[in-house]
């Protein structure tokens, strides 16, 4: 299973949740599969999906799902201790771990080598860390939503991409409609 198939499978679960989606192909795929005002698409700043999601979760009560990638977590490793030490029980970090930098041509990441993001998240102090296969992501994500506990999900899947158009929506429009969905404006 590749990332776009995982996203397609969990799209019905994501549909009415606040989602902060990682830069590049993950955002473009989610936008193509099921564009929602509750989706915040990152057009820049690789690595910050988890930070934006945590800040959002700590600032209001609705549940927040950050969809991140293994390469992006590696680029902002400092995020895991911050998450572990600032528990927001309305926050779920879903790391789609395909062992590669998908948006840039599937170059391998160290997460596909000797480094286990599951073990790193645990070592950073995160309490609920669940590793699953791509096929089980929907079930695990739904359990996390029902569980009311901050959860880090590491979804192990295969590397690979589908053809997808870039997002041409203006960033201020993305932000404005997202904040209206949050209820903060």
């Amino acid at each position: 299973m590749i990332r776009s198939e995982v996203l397609r499978e969990i799209a019905p679960i994501l549909a009415d949740q606040l989602v902060v989606c990682n830069i590049g192909l993950p955002s473009q795929e989610l936008h193509m599969i099921d564009d929602q005002p509750t989706n915040f698409y990152m057009l820049g700043t690789m690595g910050l999906a988890s930070s934006i999601g945590l800040g959002l979760a700590l600032s209001q009560d609705k549940k927040v799902i950050s969809i991140d990638g293994d390469g992006s977590v590696l680029t902002n490793f400092g995020t895991l201790p911050t998450i572990a030490n600032n528990v927001a029980n309305n926050f779920i970090l879903l790391i789609v771990d395909n062992g590669s930098y998908g948006s840039t041509g599937d170059q391998p990441t160290y997460a596909g080598g000797k480094t286990s993001l599951t073990e790193v998240a645990k070592a950073c102090g995160c309490d609920n860390v669940v590793e699953c296969q791509g096929e089980d992501t929907g079930k695990v994500l739904q359990e996390a939503l029902d569980g009311d506990q901050m959860t880090i999900i590491i979804c192990k899947c295969e590397s690979g991409n589908v053809k997808v158009p870039v997002i041409t929506m203006d960033p201020v429009v993305i932000r404005d409609r997202f904040m209206r969905a949050v209820g903060s404006i």
Partner: protein
């Protein structure tokens, strides 16, 4: 009221309730006051771009954020300032220790100091420089200005302002 207390009191008066910090020796006093404040959620960040991500999320969640960091962080955060904070048009007061100015004991700090204002100017970031203690009186207006225009705004605070280290 100390300068640090005055700064935090102005943040609170302007409804700033989410503050991320990356420490600097010059900022130790104000970071202590942020931590003490019951009106502010203080979330230390490991790197300043991470902190700006946290602030972006907090802003979209309805909170007014701020970041406290050293001027060396301008080098770390240019991409985030441009493609997140400015691109999505979000307000972000940045209280910055302006290391490498008069009174600086560490030579290496001067290397970033000489670029600080040029970089901020290049990024079209409104920049204020607190050099004397009374300059802090402008903070309230700067905060109001920041949340009026939805831009990152830099407040550089040098060693003379902090009266040493």
């Amino acid at each position: 009221m100390s300068v640090s207390e005055k700064i935090v009191s102005d943040l609170v008066a302007n409804q700033v309730s989410f503050v991320t910090t990356v420490p600097c020796k010059q900022l130790a006093g104000v970071i202590d006051e942020v931590e003490k404040s019951k009106d502010i959620y203080h979330i230390p960040a490991n790197k300043e771009d991470e902190g700006m991500g946290l602030c972006a999320g907090a802003y979209m969640g309805g909170k007014r954020p701020a970041i406290i960091m050293q001027n060396t962080a301008i080098g770390v955060t240019i991409n985030t300032l441009v493609t997140l904070t400015q691109y999505y048009r979000m307000p972000l007061p940045m209280l910055i220790s302006y290391r490498g100015e008069l009174g600086e004991p560490v030579a290496c700090q001067v290397e970033m100091a000489v670029h600080t204002k040029a970089l901020l100017a290049q990024l079209n970031i409104p920049t204020y420089h607190f050099h004397k203690e009374e300059d802090v009186e402008e903070l309230d207006s700067i905060l109001k200005y920041t949340f009026m225009c939805n831009k990152p705004v830099a407040i550089l605070t040098d060693a003379s302002f902090w009266q040493g280290y």
